[in-house]
């Protein structure tokens, strides 16, 4: 078999067993890998609660991983989120994914709960569980250093051990499996870390065709101003968006009370380069290298993080923001949810935290200490406890990232249709509403957006299953990636068949969520966005979203997806129809 290894490592932490098993070929062909494979493997377990021992925590790479396909050294981590209660997946890049594949695996399926802390080492010569009592309580850097001899490391920090609902799983190279709290799922299993090494090679069915497709992808990267343009993300990382979002008046500020922060220039892409001596870094095997690190090698924050520790909390000091980012990485906290929860907390008590307090509160959250106990539940639960539920700027309990929905109506719709809660990456309409790729759309119009969001969700579900990086699609399309995939696997795929696979994955996720009680009532935005205007300026007015028009477009979306008015499946048992 080319592309896939056909193998899954089944780890039962309760019994302490590791066993390599076959994955049926037709499942691989139908779900590819990454998110798709993980979601398929959840079929018999999706009703289990996030902290029930039998809930699987799945890591899955894709058929392109291990080849020189651009941006494909990635994996998806799939389980059920303790923060949102939805099915959850997160795509992450880095050497760990590549090593996992080189160790001969397409997926890692972890179930059960270890009676004492352990770490898992994966190696073609033997997969083993080891005691990890001495690592429990340690920060991410120390854990990674302690396990370096076993290969590439992925680990949780104190936040994951302590069950913080937005705890990340951190990769040794600074990448994170973020947002939905899968770090807490790993912590609940008593699993501190996973290491992987191996030197297996991913077979490519048609080398010549592969090289041509790779050339096509690289040409499109070079033609894309967002990727390789002199103001693009290869140069400045995602903070290249800071100036743009300020100009477009859609940078969430002070818990989304306004959409413009006068000091955002302090943490713009050029400012970070100047102040921190930012240099290029990035995921293993990625030609874009959009991640940046300081001269001293410290990972620098992404756009979402600078905005949320910056504008969202009214903090203008770049170095304080960088410090908050480093602290989150070390403790294993999601930066977006952490900063947004602090911001909602700030609005609730009438004072946003200053830089010094942010640092204290982050540590308190990770150790669930003092006020951190409440904050560790995320903004939705916290705001409810404080009696001000309207102050949580979240959808399905997932804190919204740094694109104000009043400034991009496709984004508004995509936040609520996302199967993992308020996430920008499921349909990434910013690509066309703001960045003009592949073509521009009118950001203040709902016209056509239901269909556009549906298509983009399908595309991105396929992308997350390849697994490739979303940023690659500022230049390339599924035409070129379909060609890469066909060349690697020897199985013919094209854009339309890949979108079909994406649709299958998307509907499966929605079906799981509906099975767990989700419906239309959860597909909505915080009230603020329908009632309050954003900040006007530079000839741009940011109105509240028209709720009637929003609801109308959501109903269109349901019809396009084949759902009923309630956003559910009716009598249909989708899973019976699928491979």
């Amino acid at each position: 078999m080319f592309g896939w290894t056909g193998k899954l490592l089944h780890v039962d932490l309760t019994r302490g067993t590791c066993e390599r098993r076959e994955i049926p070929t037709e499942i691989l062909h139908a779900y590819l890998g990454g998110r798709g494979l993980g979601v398929r493997l959840m079929r018999d377990y999706f009703r289990l609660g996030p902290f029930e021992p039998d809930l699987p925590l799945i890591f899955a790479v894709g058929p392109l991983c291990g080849t020189s396909s651009p941006t494909a050294a990635r994996l998806s981590c799939v389980s059920r989120s303790p923060l949102t209660g939805t099915i959850y997946d997160c795509s992450a890049g880095g050497r760990f994914a590549w090593r996992l594949k080189a160790a001969g695996l397409d997926a890692l399926f972890i179930t059960g709960k270890s009676p004492a802390p352990v770490f898992l080492s994966i190696d073609p010569a033997g997969d083993h569980l080891h005691p990890a009592q001495s690592l429990w309580g340690k920060g991410v850097k120390e854990t990674v250093a302690a396990l370096g001899q076993y290969g590439s490391v992925t680990t949780i920090g104190p936040a994951g051990e302590n069950g913080v609902l937005f705890a990340n799983i951190m990769m040794g190279e600074g990448n994170s499996i973020g947002r939905g709290g899968l770090g807490a799922v790993m912590g609940a299993k008593g699993l501190k870390a996973i290491t992987a090494q191996g030197d297996g090679v991913t077979g490519v069915a048609d080398k010549e065709r592969f090289d041509a497709a790779r050339g096509d992808v690289m040409r499109l990267f070079r033609a894309s101003p967002v990727i390789f343009g002199e103001l693009g993300i290869a140069e400045y990382g995602t903070p290249a968006l800071v100036d743009l979002m300020a100009q477009r008046r859609m940078a969430p500020t002070e818990n989304f009370r306004s959409t413009f922060f006068a000091d955002s220039g302090n943490y713009s892409g050029p400012a970070i380069r100047k102040e921190c001596g930012a240099r290029k870094e990035g995921c293993y095997g990625c030609p874009i290298q959009c991640k940046k690190a300081s001269a001293a090698g410290e990972p620098l924050p992404e756009y979402e993080t600078v905005n949320h520790f910056g504008a969202l909390n009214g903090i203008s000091d770049l170095h304080a923001i960088v410090k908050a980012n480093s602290l989150c990485n070390e403790l294993g906290l999601d930066t977006i949810s952490a900063a947004a929860t602090l911001s909602a907390f700030g609005e609730a008590r009438g004072r946003f935290p200053d830089a010094a307090e942010v640092a204290t509160l982050l540590a308190d959250i990770a150790y669930r200490h003092d006020q951190g106990e409440l904050l560790s539940l995320g903004s939705r639960r916290m705001a409810e406890v404080l009696g001000k539920p309207e102050l949580s700027m979240s959808v399905k309990s997932l804190e919204l990232p740094a694109y104000d929905p009043r400034g991009a109506y496709g984004m508004a719709l995509a936040y609520v249709t996302s199967n993992r809660g308020g996430c920008h990456l499921r349909a990434y309409p910013i690509s066309h509403e703001i960045l003009r790729k592949p073509v521009p759309t009118d950001r203040f119009s709902f016209s056509g957006k239901a269909r556009i969001i549906k298509i983009a969700e399908d595309v991105n579900a396929a992308v997350d299953s390849l697994v490739a990086c979303k940023f690659a699609f500022f230049g390339a399309t599924l035409e070129e990636y379909g060609e890469l995939l066909s060349a690697v696997t020897g199985v013919e795929y094209g854009p339309e068949s890949l979108k079909g696979i994406g649709e299958r994955i998307y509907l499966t996720e929605r079906f799981y969520n509906c099975g767990n009680g989700f419906d239309r009532s959860h597909d909505t935005l915080p009230r603020r966005f329908f009632e309050e205007a954003g900040s006007a300026g530079e000839g741009i007015d940011v109105h509240p979203i028209d709720r009637a028009r929003f609801d109308e477009e959501l109903q269109k979306y349901y019809r396009i997806r084949g759902l009923d008015e309630d956003g559910r499946f009716g009598d249909r048992n989708l899973l019976d129809e699928l491979p």
């Binding site: 073509v439 016209s447 298509i455």
Partner: protein, 389 residues
Amino acid sequence: MRDQISKYTGKLLADRSACADGIAFAAQDDALITAGAPELAALAGATLSRLNSLALVAARPTLPFADFLVARAGQGEECIVPQDTETRTFLHDIPFLRRKDLSGDAAPVLARLLGNRKGVIVEGVGIVAVGAITVEQAFINYSSVFHSTFVKYLQDVLVEGFRLPGEEEAFDSFRREWLRPLSASGLDFVEALSLEKEAILAEIERVGRYTVERGLVDSFFGNISAVAGERIYISQTAASLDELKGCIDPVPADNSSTTGITASSELLAHRKIYEQTGARVILHGHPKFSVVMSMLCDKKKDCAIKDCWKDCPHVRDLGGTPVVAGEIGAGGLAKRVPPVIGASGSAIVYGHGVFTLGRAGFGETFRAMVDVENFCREEYFRQLDITKA
């Protein structure tokens, strides 16, 4: 979406790429709509309903070149591969359906082809192109296929001559009737552009419109800029030259802000040209005869370089205008164009298009582009007439 359909129907007519009685669109939101010529509209609707895309255009081009390319293609071939940059970068190849294989319902097979590519030629029917997320995108893909088939047909005829009955007559009528003289006469330009923002934006918008109205370029492909002190005003990426209002980015020369991340992919080329030539304004487009002639290299047989678009190190010459290689964006043209464009005020990029500059205003750039394209047009027919004789 109806308003979008009428807008882009209008554009297909204005740029004379499709016949008035042969244009149809389909678009789907939660419901499918179709508009235009009834038979084509039925085909467009039936095809789009099978695709996970928003829009589709099916139209009969005003020129028979696409059909000729299909008829001239070898027995076992299923697609044509034009050599221009648009095909190379975005389309890859253009699949076709032969008339003889079109029995019964064409929609399923058309949908299968469009499931992999942006545009398809259906012999005897026309060009069918899909827009994944907007009606405009379907129009753009139609335009690309029209452009690419135009360029390839002209290249092929020059090399291989006519092969089909009726071909030469059709070509003559293209030459005498379809083609119109290109000129800048009667157009108003600000001959010395001021440094004032509003004046600059207004002039860029106007000149962008001229390039399309005069048939110099297709609307979607090209970019335009002016420099004023520490700022470059440049059209945005994926902007149509005839609709630049609100689509011009001010970019600080020192890169102290990144709002220009939405600027044209050729920002780097423009910046380097300003740095190396002291020009005030730059115009870039893809006039078709220049694209055709740029790829006519008499050394091709002996040359060791195969990837001419990217790797050719030579500076060739077309009527005093230098021709260089280099791909879009960070792909090399920003390195090769600036050193050669200063002397003549214009440069041609292999398989791609033309850059022209102005020292004071856009009149100079516009006239220069007209001159380059007129030279290439005359040179093309001169060479064709020699081959025929």
